[in-house]
Amino acid sequence: MDEIQVIRFGRLPLDSIARFVMTEHTAVPPLDYWNMWVWDKVVSLFPVSIWEYAYRVPYMMLHTLAALLLALVYCDMIEKRKHWEDSVMIWVGFLLYFFNPLPFVYSYEIRFYAMMLLGAVVVMALYYRNKLFSVSYYPLMVLFCLNSIYHFFILVPFLIVGMLKKETRRNAVLLYSAVGAAAITVVPFLYVPHPDSGIVATERIFSGLSWLQNFYLNPAWKVYAALSALLILCIVRTKRAVFFFGSALFYIFVVVILDMKYNYRYFGAKHFLYAIPAFTVLVYELMSVARSLVVRIGVVCVLAFLFLWPFYSYLYDTYTGKVLLAKSPLGLKQVFQYVSDHSVGTVIVDYGNATEEDIRYYELAISWYAPLYSKPKIIYRTGYVGCRVLTQKASALLYSVAGVPNCGEKSDWTVTPLFDSAMVTKP
């Protein structure tokens, strides 16, 4: 539903987007919505039936760009080797990040996440090339801050390191000042709704962390495998690897603290997303310790098999409808395509006993999809009375949010299950 809001805000006059964002969307600066203002004009040239894909294209490009940049970083980490080895290293570095399930899933989400991850990767790439404190890149750093508040936290460990080194101290202070000024300007955008006192923050933090652990480190022996890798890291004592490990821990710590303070309504793995590039660089650093190319490729295969592949089987289950998520489709595309194809005049929406919050989400989605295909009259009902209303209306269709409705024996009515909703049509 947030995706619809991003597009809707992106359709406002350019100068008023920021004002609306700061009162409607939780803690998000406006750059993503400004970009959408431009991209929306391009998408409107395409047929409505592919808009779900077209709106996501820039985010996919950002993810590809991030994976490419990280691959080049990885390639630079390894000392002199043959030309073909170079190619293999770039491919390995690219694939390991590109197919990392969390960033990959968020690479087709119409929100700021893909650019936030690119921001983290750019910081790391500049750090490896000793260009992070070059004045010409300051606007880029501040631009990423305008995309997501996570970028402020991403920069903190790097700025500390910059301050500690004599040769970069002056420029690090300047970057601190630029980012600090940006932070003061961005503060009004950090709209946080009233805390939900019914939810205990610590419970949600631990459920979020265990979600993250289940995501990558389930069953428990994988935790030991990860700890062993960290032990190797400590033995090897690669300075940069230790720095990135510390940074990743810092990022997780920041999210936990912020959530405790603001008591956000929702808390999940996506809030830790920005730590993933740091963990990826950590893996690259570990891999770069091995001298043999075969060992490095072997490590990637083992990592992919253990940590990445299981999630793809889970994704496949969501694709085939075996598992339903909050992100699962509601079937509204099919409903309104049917309405358009069969010139249905009225759509009856039966919410069953859905909560008020869920009803708000459904209304938002319906109000987005209804005018895209046709403009039927919409009648909203609760309490499973949709079948009765459908009997009374000519040229109507019932969309039941609560699954297949019990409409009794109506032989000429057709019931189409749509994920966890259903559509009832009559001739």
């Binding site: 970009n35 709106y55 590809t64 691959a71 190619s87 010409s136 489709p329």
Partner: protein, 80 residues
């Protein structure tokens, strides 16, 4: 003043105009910020173009596009 600071000052002015300003000022500010964004994308693409491994990089980018193209039915089926 060192010339490398001039773009930074332009950017700062656009930043404040875009985020704090209203009307034409805000629109101009946002326009300049979006131009900066385009400039950095151009800079990166130019870096790739002159990179010694540019054919490989192009190959990887095309493969990524292929992955997303193959996922078209799945992604297009994801409602907003």
């Amino acid at each position: 003043m060192n010339s490398e600071y001039i773009p930074l000052l332009v950017f700062a002015a656009a930043f404040f105009a875009g985020t704090v300003g209203s009307g034409v000022t805000a629109t101009l500010g946002i326009g300049v910020l979006l131009l900066f964004e385009c400039w950095f994308v151009y800079k990166f693409l130019r870096h790739i173009y002159f990179h010694r491994r540019r054919n490989l990089i192009a190959c990887i980018a095309i493969s990524a596009a292929g992955v997303y193209a193959a996922l078209f039915p799945f992604i297009n089926n994801q409602e907003l």
